[in-house]
Amino acid sequence: MSSAAGITVVRPGLLTTVQDLGRWGSQALGVPVSGAMDSMAHRLANALVGNAPTAATLEVTLIGPELRADRALVVAVAGAAFVLGVDGRAAPHHTAFALAPGATLRFGERRAGSRAYLAVAGGIDTPPVLGSRATHLLSGMGGLDGRALVRGDVLPLGPAPTHVGPHRAPPASPPPAAGLVRSLRVMLGPQDTWFSPHAIETLLHEVYRVSTQSNRMGFQLEGPLVAATRADGLLSEPVPFGALQVPAGGSPILLMADRQTAGGYPKIATVIAADLPLAGQLGPGDVVRFAACTRTEARAALIARERELLRLMPEESGA
C-alpha cells in the first residue's frame, strides 16, 4: 500500500503529535507505551471517519494547528472543544466533514478540555516503529521523526476506507470547562501501606492542581503533601498509565501516556481505566480530586464508558 501526501502543516500549534493506541509489547525492552492521552476521543475521531481504532490521529494540545489539505479529505475532530474553521467558515466538532484540495483547517479558540484528536479517513501513515505510530518525545521514537510537528511538515496518509459518509455523533457531554473540579476514581495501591492513614485521607479529601511542570510523561500535582512513611527504597517495578507515584518530597505525580516503563517511587493509588480519558483532558491549572473505588466498581465504570463510546459511534463502525 503506497501512502500519499495529504496534509501540510501551516502552523504547528503548541504540541501536535502523531498518536495511536500505543506501542504495546516492547516494554520489556524499556520502550514506553506512549499513545493518545485521551484514547476515547482518539477512538471516536477515528470511528467518525470510518477508520479502525488503531489508525493514527493527530493529538492537538492546548493551542491548535493550522493544516492544509493537499487533496480531498474527510476528517473529524473529537476531544477538547476548539472553535474549528475551514477557510473562514465554521466547521463542526464530533462530526466528519470534507476538506477540498487546498482548503485550510484552523483550530481556533479552545472552549473546554486540553487535547483534541484530528482523524483523517485513511489514517496518518507515518512509518510504524515496533508496531505503532505513536510519538514518544523523550526517546524520539515513532510519529514524524519522533518529534512534534513543525511548520512545513507533510504528513502521509493511508488509503481512505471505501464507505465514508458524513458521520455525526450524537451530542456528547463535552470535556468539563476550566475551573471546575474534576473527580478521578482511583484504586488504592499498590504501595498504599507505605503511607499513613492520614496521608490517604488527605489524598482522598483534598484537591490538587495540575502544575505547569506537566507533560505527556506525567502531571506534577500541587496540593497537600502525602509523603510515604517508609524510607527504604522501592525496587524499580513496572508502572501503569494513571499511577500516582510519590517521590520523597510528598508531591504526587500522575503518570501519563509517555511514562517510563518502570519506576522506583511508591504509588499511593492508581486512576482506573475508565477515568484515564478524563485525566488525559487535564491541563495546567486544572483542579482534581480523587475518589477511592473497588475493582468491581472500576469494571462497571469501564463497561459504562464503553457503552457511552458505542452510543457516540456511527452504527457501522460501532462493533
Partner: protein, 233 residues
Amino acid sequence: MTAPLTRPRLHLSGDSLVLVEFEARMAPEVNARVVAVAQAIAEAAVPGVRDVVPGFASVGVHVDPLRFDASALEQVVAHAWDVAAVAGAPARVVDIPVCYGGEHGPDLEAVAASAGCSPGAVVQRHTAPVYRVYMLGFLPGFAYLGSVDPSISVPRRPAPRARVRAGSVGIAGLQTGVYPCDSPGGWQLIGRTPWRMFDATRQQPAVLRAGDAVRFVSLPHDQWHACVSVPSS
C-alpha cells in the same frame, strides 16, 4: 543451593496492571524466577494480556480489564514457578567493548579518587565481574546491571548532566549501565561503548534483555571505529 524462595503474590496496580511480586530484594536467584515467569506468561497467550514486563523482583502484566482472565494468569504463574525451580536456562553472555576515561569517561578520575585507587584499578574492577541484567527501563534499551564491586561504588552526581552521550557507561551505587541514547542523566560516567545499545530498526532492537550476563571489555581508544557494529546474536 540458595534458600527456598517464597511463592509470588498477585497484586493489582489499578485495574490495568497485575504485579506478580516476588521477594523484594535485588538478588540473582529472585530475578531468575522473575525472568522465567515473565517468559512463561508472555508465551501463554492469557486472554486480555497486553504486555509483560520484568522488574527487579516483580513481573508487570498489563491487561485489558474487560478481557483479562485472572484465573488463567494464576495458573500460568503457578506452573511457571514450579518449572523454573528445575529449569534455570543458561544465561547468554554479552561482552561489551568500552573505551574508559578521557573524553569517553569524564568521571573516571573522580571515581578513582573516591575509591582511593588509580583509574586503571577502577577499570580493572569494573571489567572483572560478570554482571546480571536485572531489567530494562528508564529509556528504550537501558539495562540495569548488578552488582558493581563495592570498592568503586559511587553515588549519583549531585546534579544530573543535561546531556549524556549515547553509549556512556555509568555507575550509581551498586548498579552500572549504558545510556542507549543521548539523554539527561546523573550516573558517574567512566567510559563509553561504540555500540548502539538500542535501534528499533534491528531484528533485535535492544542489545540486552533481562537475564543476560554481561562483561565489559576495555577497548583501546584507537579501536573505537573498529567496534561500532553490534554483533548479531
